[in-house]
């Protein structure tokens, strides 16, 4: 795709086809393109995600053959899939657990991108398209979680759609929520349209993944040194070297997936979702799926409704402009001693926000004493969320731009080849 092609049609039929529909050429050039020779296992999550996406599409299409998007029947139809459909006991958790595994892989993929500077010039569009994929994944995952129509399904849907009621009613907030619901609250019409959109969005994700890979083929992969490819000695062909490496990583990942699928299929979900949806009774403790918990913690960290919603969306929005916030010319944090430390704090902050999102805001992280009534006092989870939210935004808006100006990076190797062979004394 970038410049010359690696495909030479040999047989007459290949030549005939190539002159009319160069589809084999497209496939060959997608698979045989020069990649840096030093990609480590953090680079296998792209391929893992591609496999998970296909798995989700296949299991999803199968589940749709048995699922009924009606408020009186949706819950029972999911039970019917699990109990009566041949292999339904496996296919339904494969889809539900698969969603969790896909988010696990995408978070590792994104952290890897931030650490090694994969969002930087000339890969900004790969990063931005990737963020669009992530947003589509969040919307798809959210609507999919609504479909079993249990207590967490309906109350998750109520809370998330009510985020739009933060828009003042006079500025069409009520009109927007009623339009989303197709009624005065989350009900049958909402369930039915969520089913329709849950089926649609994965195909948009497939289209965006095609753009993501297309954009990747212009500059090729980034690599752990962050240094651009200079000569052919810096590269290996994607096939067979990385197809095999990716295949090995996929096998390991699928083993972890299988453990959850066959032994802990419900561990990623919430027990309340085994209670049929009841719009007149809110569960005592609503939590979203684990992969949304950090954002839920950010939402709850802000005491004002509209500002909370804005802050939560901003926490995702800021990722879109990351390529212009992380202004250091050195891509890989391997050579950025300070950025590396702030990055690991950032990962901890995200995990801490996830922890806080799973707890009640008033629960204590640790107690420092007791008040006059004998109740324990100390750092509450809402305060921990506030501290970590400040760090989350400071990392992007203050620390990364300042480090770009102030940090003195370590010397980089002369080339990828030199880094691999250890022939360059410049590498630390």
């Amino acid at each position: 795709m970038s410049g010359q092609s690696n495909y030479n049609p040999k047989t007459g039929i290949e030549k005939w086809l190539d002159a009319r529909l160069p589809i084999i050429r497209l496939g060959v050039d997608t698979m045989i393109f020069p990649s840096p020779r030093n990609l480590n296992y953090w680079w296998t999550f792209g391929a893992i995600l591609a496999v998970m996406l296909v798995s989700q599409l296949i299991t999803g299409i199968i589940l749709a053959m048995h699922y009924i998007p009606h408020p009186d029947m949706a819950f029972d139809s999911v039970q019917h899939i699990n109990r009566d459909i041949n292999f339904g006991w496996m296919l339904q958790p494969m889809h539900a657990v698969g969603a969790s595994m896909m988010f696990l892989a995408v978070y590792i993929h994104m952290f890897r991108g931030i650490y090694y500077g994969s969002h930087k010039n000339p890969r900004e569009m790969i990063w931005i398209v990737g963020m669009v994929i992530y947003l589509l994944m969040m919307a798809t995952g959210f609507m999919g979680y609504v479909l079993p129509w249990g207590q967490m399904s309906i109350w998750g849907a109520i809370v998330i759609t009510n985020l739009f009621s933060a828009i003042p009613p006079e500025a069409a907030g009520t009109a927007v929520t009623q339009w989303l619901w197709g009624g005065f609250t989350v009900d049958g019409p909402t369930l039915n349209r969520f089913f329709s959109l849950h089926y649609l969005l994965p195909f948009l994700i497939v289209a965006m993944v095609a753009l993501h890979i297309w954009a990747l083929h212009i500059p090729s992969n980034n690599n752990p040194t962050g240094i651009s490819i200079k000569t052919k000695a810096d590269t290996l062909n994607f096939h067979p070297y990385y197809t095999v490496k990716d295949a090995f990583a996929i096998a390991v990942f699928l083993m972890i997936f299988s453990y959850f699928l066959f032994f802990k299929p419900d561990s990623m979900g919430h027990p309340d979702n085994f209670i049929p949806a009841n719009p007149y009774s809110t569960p005592a403790h609503i939590v979203p799926e684990w992969y949304y918990l950090p954002f839920y913690a950010i939402l709850r960290a802000v005491p004002d409704k509209l500002m909370g919603v804005i802050t939560m969306f901003a926490s995702i929005g800021v990722l879109f402009i990351l390529p212009w916030l992380d202004i250091s010319k050195v891509r890989s944090m391997r050579y950025r001693p300070l950025a590396k430390q702030f990055f690991f704090l950032f990962v901890l902050a995200c995990l801490g926000l996830g922890w806080a999102g799973a707890k009640l805001p008033s629960d204590l992280v640790f107690a420092t004493g007791v008040d006059a009534d004998g109740h324990a006092v100390g750092l509450t989870f809402v305060w921990m969320s506030r501290l970590l939210t400040v760090y989350y935004f400071a990392f992007f808006l203050v620390i990364l731009p300042l480090l770009g100006l102030l940090e003195k990076p370590k010397p980089r190797p002369a080339s990828i080849e030199a880094s691999v062979l250890g022939t360059d004394k410049g590498e630390v």
């Binding site: 339009w179 007149y280 409704k305």
Partner: protein, 190 residues
């Protein structure tokens, strides 16, 4: 036919371009609106807009939940102490300033019925159903309702006192058809 002369004057071709473009924009608009509007509440959803509820069986201090438009509506028979508490409050401390009597509607005799508070049982923060249990203080710190989702506390008039909710519990449109029957979804005809 003569050769066209170079000129800045609008030509018939310019006119056709603009007219076609305008027709296209209008056409897309006419086409798009039904696609958007089909998601709005349908006729059968809208037709379930009112319910009648007999409040004669309520006991003092208790609450019943009526279902209206798929939402819970709290109907609470407040005790004399609770009413006094709600009326005595200085509303300057409130986020959403409303007196207790502003949150009531008159009965058939034209007088307010402060013992009955009718409010949509949906937290104005993110839509959860607040809890009510006067016996074991689950109703929050102000003797009204407590929302378990994000910790909003309401008083017995449904006014927001503490927590992230921006406004008081919504008072639905309703009126007293008789002394003991209310209709929710419609205001009294004056």
């Amino acid at each position: 036919m003569s050769t066209p002369v170079e000129s800045d004057e609008p030509t018939r071709r310019d006119f056709i371009h603009i007219a076609t473009g305008a027709a296209l924009v209008a056409g897309v608009g006419f086409y798009a609106w039904p696609l958007v509007d089909q998601m709005n509440p349908s006729a059968d959803t809208l037709s379930l807009a009112t319910v009648e509820f007999d409040i004669s069986s309520l006991e003092e201090g208790a609450q019943v939940v009526a279902k209206w438009r798929g939402k819970p509506v709290f109907i609470r028979y407040r005790t004399a102490t609770e009413i006094a508490e709600a009326e005595a409050l200085d509303i300057s401390v409130l986020k959403d300033k409303q007196t207790d009597s502003e949150r009531l509607v008159p009965g058939p005799d034209g007088k307010l019925k402060p013992q009955f508070l009718v409010a949509v049982g949906i937290c104005t923060h993110l839509g959860c159903v607040p809890l009510f249990d006067p016996k074991d203080s689950k109703g929050g710190e102000y003797g009204g309702w407590f929302c378990p989702c994000h910790g909003s506390h309401y008083d017995n008039s449904g006014r927001i006192r503490k927590g992230p909710a921006p406004t008081n519990l919504v008072i639905p449109p309703y009126w007293y058809m008789t002394d003991t029957v209310i209709q929710i979804g419609k205001e009294a005809l004056v």
